[in-house]
Every structure is written in structure tokens, then in C-alpha cells.
């Protein structure tokens, strides 16, 4: 069964450094998402992406964050200058076509980001 994959599984970085988290959504899906989960807290929406542009973003997704689909398969989340509070599990998700009855979001296994 097709799966969303994410790399790396664990990323350790120094405060102020840039990180890029990578995701490969399921191949025929059209909508892509990033969520994060700070340890012990609930999963929070960051951003959604459709047709090569951001369709919605949360308050968390400030100027330090950006997303990109650099080729036909990868979907990346970049954090320009990491802060301690960016330490969290970051989940990528994809969806075939919400609003047309195909609205299950499929989540990747997550990347654990640790900012020191």
C-alpha cells in the first residue's frame, strides 16, 4: 500500500541553523500538509499546499517557515533559523482530493527535530 515517507527520521541542529525536512507524498495525491507535535501536546496544523502554492497556513507558520515542491515528488518544509521551541515532531500528510469524497489525510511517520 502506498505510504507517505519522511526523511530524516531524527534531525538534531543548533539554534539558529536552517533545517529542511523532506517528505514524499503518495504519488497521485494533490494536497499536501505539514503538522507539528510538540512533545506531550496535540498535533497542530502548520500549512497546506495545493497546485504549487500555499492554500492555508496557521499562526505558527511565520516568516521563518517555507514550503516547496521542488520536483514532482518531494515536498519540503524549511525552517530558516531554528529556535529551541521549534523542537517537535513534524508530520507530513497528503490527501488525494478533499471535497470530492476522498478526504482521508495520510500521515507520514514524522521527523523528530531537536534544536539545541
Amino acid at each position: 500500500e502506498p505510504e507517505v515517507t519522511q526523511t530524516p527520521s531524527h534531525q538534531v541542529t543548533q539554534m539558529g541553523q536552517e533545517v529542511i525536512l523532506r517528505c514524499v507524498p503518495i504519488s497521485n495525491h494533490l494536497y499536501f500538509y505539514w503538522y507539528r507535535q510538540i512533545l506531550g501536546q496535540k498535533v497542530e496544523f502548520l500549512v497546506s499546499f495545493y497546485n504549487n502554492e500555499i492554500s492555508e497556513k496557521s499562526e505558527i507558520f511565520d516568516d521563518q517557515f517555507s514550503v516547496e515542491r521542488p520536483d514532482g515528488s518531494n515536498f519540503t518544509l524549511k525552517i530558516r533559523s531554528t529556535k529551541l521551541e521549534d523542537s517537535a515532531m513534524y508530520f507530513c500528510a497528503s490527501n488525494p482530493s478533499p471535497g470530492l469524497g476522498q478526504d482521508t489525510q495520510y500521515f507520514g511517520p514524522g521527523t523528530r527535530l531537536t534544536v539545541l
Binding site: K42, F45, P98, G99, T104, Q105, F107, P109
Partner: protein, 112 residues
């Protein structure tokens, strides 16, 4: 806020017993989804129920949805130790196909 809120926050039962978790939300929804997360791991999609559905089954899982009360329940029957995990409900608002909003989750412990 559209957030789903689960209760209880934590539930501990003996293997073989049934576990019921509840979720409440605030806005009109397209669907409500339940996810499972083992400690420190990814999110596994369990079941999706649409706003025009009232009940859905999948194996040992039974989900109900009451849109008039803006609530849902997840029942796991004949629980097993391997069911130990956190369970989250997530709602997709009628106004947005762009995201799901997660509740804080119920931590389920099934004691062998």
C-alpha cells in the same frame, strides 16, 4: 475554535474490556477522523466518518457521530495490550478542505 476535545484524557482498562473515548467539537464539519499514535511514533488513520453518517464499523472499532451534539465516540471492543496508544479525533471544517484540527487525545492503557 474548531478543535476537537477528547475525554477522558487518560483511560486504563483490563485486556478484554471495551474502551470508549469521546470527542466534542465546535463548528460544522465535513468529516471526523480518528487516529492512533503509539508513543513517539507516527499517526495511523483508523476511521473516517462523514457528517451525514451516524455510525461506522471497522473490525473492533465502532465510531458514532452526533452532529446535533457535535460529538463522536470511538469504541474499541475486546481490547488488547497492543491497543495501548494515544487516540486523537480530528475534524475537517465545512469551511475548509485544507486541514484537520486535532484534539488533545486520550491516552489508553490496556493492562494484560
Amino acid at each position: 475554535s474548531q478543535q476537537g476535545e477528547e475525554d477522558p484524557q487518560a483511560l486504563s482498562i483490563q485486556e478484554g474490556e471495551n474502551a470508549t473515548m469521546n470527542c466534542s467539537y465546535k463548528t460544522s464539519i465535513n468529516n471526523l477522523q480518528w487516529y492512533r499514535q503509539n508513543s513517539g511514533r507516527g499517526l495511523v488513520h483508523l476511521i473516517l466518518i462523514r457528517s451525514n453518517e451516524r455510525e461506522k464499523h471497522s473490525g473492533r472499532l465502532r465510531v458514532t457521530l452526533d452532529t446535533s451534539k457535535k460529538s463522536s465516540s470511538l469504541l474499541i471492543t475486546a481490547s488488547r495490550a497492543a491497543d495501548t496508544a494515544s487516540y486523537f479525533c480530528a475534524t475537517e471544517a465545512k469551511t475548509s478542505y485544507d486541514k484537520v484540527i486535532f484534539g488533545p487525545g486520550t491516552s489508553l492503557s490496556v493492562i494484560p
